[in-house]
């Protein structure tokens, strides 16, 4: 008789498990970088790498929020429009505050405060309608997507809202500045990612998100306040959008109806590429970060060379996304886990 069967339950083999999942997206990202390097050595220049990371901060921060929503079994299509309307509102607030608060840091802080408040509010709205209104998340956020985008068009009177040039100087460093050589947006992204990781993996809240996404009934029977947790995921998403907006506004200094178009697709794609399951129950912040960087890198690589007709950019992008995911899923035998988990 084997001893094995009677040994009871050993603690999980931790190290092995972590490697498995984070490895896939990482390998794909590395492959992509090698491709970039092969196409143009300038890819690896410090300037380019720093540009690339800075850019991925927007989508990355939003995608961290989306990881929570998707893990808990929801979806948020409104993030791009939300970013647009929050940018717009920030600009209006800051422009209006110049007279009283001047063109310095206080005005900028006021704008940021407005951004956070609006993000939390918009997220709560999505969450509330989904949980209490009992309307499918897809429909709710499709609706708010239209509403938010319309609002920014309305605020901008069909045109563009632009930040008064006097404030820009005080605000510019948030995007263009850097600390110890690392651009501020990258630092913020890293911070958000770390906090998100801790929240998802080291707190009860994160555990609850996974439980709800995995099986709502079991979660309810396990004394989890399903509606509250789910609403909170949308609130977190809103907060992430507002943080992304805060570092976005100083870059372009304006907001219009074309701000943030299709960011929702990019954010969701980053999440899925990172290994989180669209059906919920399983989320990985680390993967999401890599997914976001990967998407930005694809865009960057297309700019490295002009051997491909501009018209085919989208095609190359599509092929790379599919190939990257195939590489990480199929090649690493990763998929078995996914398929079973889904069954």
């Amino acid at each position: 008789m084997t001893a094995q069967a009677h040994e009871g339950v050993k603690p999980a083999k931790k190290r092995f498990r972590i490697d498995y999942h984070t490895f896939g997206p990482l390998v794909a990202l590395i492959a992509l970088c090698l491709l970039g390097l092969a196409l143009n050595p300038a890819f690896a220049s410090e300037g380019n790498i720093s540009n690339l990371l800075t850019r991925s901060a927007f989508i990355g921060i939003i995608a961290v929020g989306a990881t929570f929503v998707i893990t808990a079994g929801g979806i948020d299509l409104s993030v791009g429009s939300m970013a647009a309307v929050i940018s717009g509102a920030m600009i209006i607030v800051m422009n209006a505050a110049i007279e009283t608060l001047g063109t310095g840091v206080p005005t900028v802080l006021l704008g940021c405060a407005a951004s956070v408040l609006l993000g939390l509010g918009a997220g709560f709205l999505n969450g509330f309608m989904t949980t209490k209104g009992k309307i499918e998340a897809f429909i709710v956020t499709l609706g708010t997507m239209g509403i938010f985008r319309s609002l920014v068009t309305y605020f901008a009177d069909g045109g563009t809202l632009s930040l008064a040039f006097d404030i820009r100087d005080a605000y510019r460093p948030v995007y263009y500045g850097n600390l110890l050589g690392i651009p501020i947006p990258v630092l913020v992204f890293a911070l958000v990612a770390v906090l998100g990781w801790v929240l998802l993996n080291r707190t009860a809240f994160g555990r609850y998100c996974m439980a709800i996404g995995s099986n709502e009934t079991v979660a309810r029977y396990s004394a989890i306040k399903v509606d509250r947790i789910r609403t909170l995921t949308y609130v977190i998403q809103g907060l992430c959008v507002s943080i992304a907006t805060i570092i976005y506004v100083p870059r372009l200094g304006s907001a219009s109806s074309s701000t943030g178009v299709l960011w929702e697709l990019e954010a969701i794609a980053a999440v899925i590429i990172g290994g989180t399951m669209l059906k919920g129950g399983y989320g990985r912040i680390g993967g999401t970060v890599i997914g976001a960087i990967m998407l930005t890198t694809i865009g960057n690589i297309l700019n490295l060379t002009d051997i491909i007709s501009n018209y085919l950019n989208g095609a190359v992008q599509g092929v790379i996304i599919i190939a990257a995911v195939w590489l990480q899923r199929g090649n690493l035998g990763h998929l078995n886990i996914f398929r079973k988990a889904r069954g």
């Binding site: 008789m1 603690p11 999980a12 083999k13 080291r202 009860a204 555990r207 309810r220 004394a223």
Partner: protein, 511 residues
């Protein structure tokens, strides 16, 4: 009884071994089943019974060894296609798609068609006929997700016996049935057996095994212990073969109920969906049994008490204070825990590991400085493993891969983690082997002795009788009566449960 020597076997496993990854679960097993016999397969939880029948039906491939069908070695097709070879399985895990209707589920994968179109009316009529044959009143048009666990099991049974089976394999089909349903089900099994169907039957209920089977094979820890003719052994001997040690009395001795103990839970005139004016009281240190037929409303009472479903009337008093839980979390904070009977649908997250399932209900206890304290979770896991003898490769194994009995133990562990004053256990030993059952009974008795109060909802009459100080019998959402002391006897309970006796006359006798 089939003549074992002369009838050739239809399906056999020869020196079959199986490992999942590195972990071996079956070691060189020989097993066969003959035409017209019932071959019972028994063993402790995790012994490898389900794994063996998965191999015999092609769902898993053996790591080594061969499967022989009609004397020929064969590689069984996976994906359930072996049904076309006449090998039909009722899996231990319920295998129904929640969104389909009963009739759709029964015919899934072998729909009747004419000119490419479904013969829906005919399939429905046939489904109705099959269900009638099982004496169950399930609407063929009902969606699976509206059925109770027991009804789902009946649909599984209907699905299996309606197929043209040569070999019918059943993995704990009776775990969720009451003895009444079991009897009807056995009738059907005997009918099939008479038709020459070879039947493999897995159960932890040894009386059923003794009553139904011709031969018994015992597995322990993935090893074949013996295959014997049923008549040659007593149930006790079989049980000992299973667990590898001598079993003392299954039920712990009942301590005398203390009639002066304070009433800790007092339910009066409770009405809720499926519940019509139920009253009862639970004293400190008491084990209160809830008996009744399937669908009699026992679960509905408990879910209403703990706040899982909405109360429409009546009062619940906890230690004399009226309470109205709107969510189960409040009940838990008040020291009242409820363990569901639907472990797959409501109890456990199948796609994550043991440890996270165990602590899900009581996660707040594992927080230190706002963060989860993994060490404390590990400790809880070790505690539960010891207490409930949970067996799994390691704590990260997905719960869906655990043997059924170990899932049940894990669920018990999960509920008990909250260290409740009052424990409501719905079907505590569903799918659990005798050895562990005994442990669980002793745990329940010990809890009562400590002064905790326990409600045991069970469809296993013996369990209710063996454990309870008092028994509430329900029928059709009502309490028919409460039995005490010497009244607690099978016949008496049945009379109440069937509506032949009790506070409410059988108002549906004519129905």
């Amino acid at each position: 009884m089939a003549d074992s020597a002369s009838t050739p076997h239809i399906l056999a496993a020869s020196r079959v071994s199986k490992s999942f990854g590195e972990v071996p679960v079956l070691f060189s097993i020989d097993f066969d089943v003959r035409q017209g016999e019932v071959h019972a397969l028994i063993g402790e939880n995790g012994a490898g019974k389900s794994t063996l029948i998965k191999i015999l039906s092609g769902i898993e491939q053996p790591t080594s060894g061969t499967i022989v069908l009609d004397g020929e070695p064969i590689r069984l097709p996976s994906n359930g296609e072996s049904a076309s070879l006449g090998i039909v399985v009722i899996h231990q895990e319920l295998n129904l798609a929640e969104h389909l209707t009963v009739a759709e589920s029964i015919f899934l994968g072998r729909e009747w068609k004419r000119y490419g179109f479904l013969r829906r009316a005919e399939m429905q009529a046939e489904a109705q006929r099959i269900l009638d044959g099982l004496h169950v009143s399930i609407d063929p048009n009902a969606r699976i997700n509206t059925l109770s666990v027991a009804d789902k099991q009946m649909v599984e049974i209907a699905k299996a016996i309606s197929r043209d089976a040569r070999v019918l394999i059943m993995d704990e089909p009776t775990a969720v049935l009451t003895s009444a349903e079991t009897d009807i089900f056995f009738e059907q099994v005997r009918r099939l057996k008479a038709k020459g169907v070879a039947i493999i039957f897995i159960s932890h209920k040894l009386d059923e095994v003794m009553a139904l089977s011709d031969r018994i094979t015992v597995l322990r820890d993935g090893q074949l212990i013996a295959t014997v003719d049923t008549g040659d052994l007593t149930p006790d001997a079989i049980a000992e073969m299973m667990v590898g040690r001598e079993l003392s009395n299954l039920y712990p001795p009942k301590n005398e109920p203390d009639v002066d103990a304070p009433v800790i839970l007092d339910v009066e005139g409770l009405t809720a969906p499926g519940v019509r004016g139920v009253s009862f009281a639970l004293r400190r240190g008491e084990i209160l049994g809830f008996a009744g037929l399937i669908g009699s409303g026992r679960t509905a009472v408990m879910e209403a008490i703990v706040g899982l479903s909405e109360k429409t009337g009546g009062t619940v008093r906890l230690r004399g204070e009226p309470v109205a839980f709107s969510a189960i979390g409040e009940a838990i904070d008040a020291g009242l825990v409820y363990m569901t009977k639907d472990r797959k649908g409501k109890g456990l997250l199948l796609n994550i590991g043991l440890q996270r399932n165990l602590t899900l209900l009581t996660l707040k206890r594992h927080i230190k400085g706002g963060f989860l304290n993994e060490a404390s979770e590990v400790e809880a896991m070790e505690r539960a493993t010891r207490r409930f003898d949970i067996r799994a490769r390691d704590a990260s194994v997905r719960v869906g891969q655990l043997s059924g009995g170990n899932q049940q133990k894990l669920m018990l562990g999960k509920a008990m983690e909250s260290e409740p004053e009052i424990v409501i256990i719905d079907e505590p030993t569903r799918g659990i082997d005798v050895g562990t059952k005994q442990q669980i009974y002793h745990i329940i008795a010990a809890l009562a002795k400590e002064g905790k109060s326990i409600i045991v909802v069970s469809s296993e009459m013996q369990e209710v009788i063996g454990l309870s100080h008092r028994v509430v019998v329900m029928r059709d959402g009502r309490r028919m009566g409460t039995l005490e002391g010497a009244e607690i006897k099978e016949g008496e309970i049945m009379r109440y449960a069937a509506g032949l006796k009790g506070e409410f006359g059988d108002d549906r006798a004519s129905a």
